[in-house]
Symmetry: C2
Subunit: 257 residues, 2 copies
Amino acid sequence: MKRDIPKYKVISEEIIQKIESGEFQPGDKVPSENELIEMYCVSNTTARKSLLEVELQGWAKRIKGKGTFVLNRSEDRHLTRVLGPFHAVKESFNDNLIREGFTPKNIVLEKTILEDGISSNINNHHYIIKGPVLKIHRLRYADEVLLKDETRYISLTLCPKINMYDLDNRSLISMYENIYNIKLKNVERTLGNTILTSFDPKNYFENEIPMAVFVLDGAIFSDDGEIVEMEQSYYRGDKYKFSIIAKPQFSGEKHKS
Amino acid sequence: MKRDIPKYKVISEEIIQKIESGEFQPGDKVPSENELIEMYCVSNTTARKSLLEVELQGWAKRIKGKGTFVLNRSEDRHLTRVLGPFHAVKESFNDNLIREGFTPKNIVLEKTILEDGISSNINNHHYIIKGPVLKIHRLRYADEVLLKDETRYISLTLCPKINMYDLDNRSLISMYENIYNIKLKNVERTLGNTILTSFDPKNYFENEIPMAVFVLDGAIFSDDGEIVEMEQSYYRGDKYKFSIIAKPQFSGEKHKS
């Protein structure tokens, strides 16, 4: 460390540099006070000042009782979502937005119990979720911009009376695991692509010119092969990017041969 | 097995059933003659007849010296590409198409050596590949339909004189590994979404009405952190679907906490 610059400033600059380089991504937690104390051998006053400095410069935001999170400062404030790892599937849509500095809002368009099942085509498989199912059709906003038009079908056989819970502010997947003790096996998802115009009566995005949207079809399976949930959602194409990281050392892959 | 139906017919029906259910996907290899002999305890004549029957019914195609592969019979003949696993990244674009029963074709629009490097934004990181690089801009067709407008930038420092090789009919990644002995660490990719119109001078898809396309930005890293290749490609949205499978038991994930 240089002599003239105060320690808290050196530490905050290092954190900011990691945000700028992308090592810390929007929504990521930066090191906590205790972690900084250990990493840099500094007092808790210095550690606290370091985090405050990062926050004052507008790079991160402290969320009470949770930590300090990197804000989304991309020019167009687009969102990047990681595809693949299961922990990413589990995260709550709203919690993610809050961590990146957005204000989330949900509008429930429909919440219905369907006695019959629903079928869907995912990764070229034809899947059926047996009735009764709870259908929830929600519009999901960040800072008053509609990001996602989401429809989920939840098995009421596997998750009885799930419609009694507040479903808006928690991860549904955590509910399946923690309230209904369902062991989840895997999540299969297909990402397609379409154009929505203002003439489409089912288009809630209210775009005036045609807009590219991602179409997500997904199914979540329990350990004994039953479908817990199916999803059919639209993500606006100008606000979303999906990221995929592949590593050769991942084993246990199904190889085409 | 039932008595009246010949054995080869029973076996071929089982294979066809697995294709119909999606257990065998387009491009997948069905069991070989030797595998059928072992699985069903039948003669090689019966095994051969079984595979021939599957082929005659139009479900699969034998590729000499390679095996029998499931044809793409989806209504719109769209292609599903698996995102995530590294082995999928390694597969040759053309080999994949051939296995699904398409006739691939490449048109090289540009093949240039750039002395300066190229920079790109992938998963919110700003990456630079140092010059000189080989730029290859190719149009990739299946059955005369343009599927992918692909531009790849290959490090000529890491892969000297790679432009001397036939790059059209092999996987570039296998070349990096096998010819240049580069140990690959990982592949990072971002999938975005845009609309291409007929007015766009850089749009080679020749669509008359606006079309949704996937935009792929990717970088391949060597073991010592250098960028071997960067890619900027467009996939036509009406012909592609991407599939993602997430499993909780995958360990070694980077957890947001």
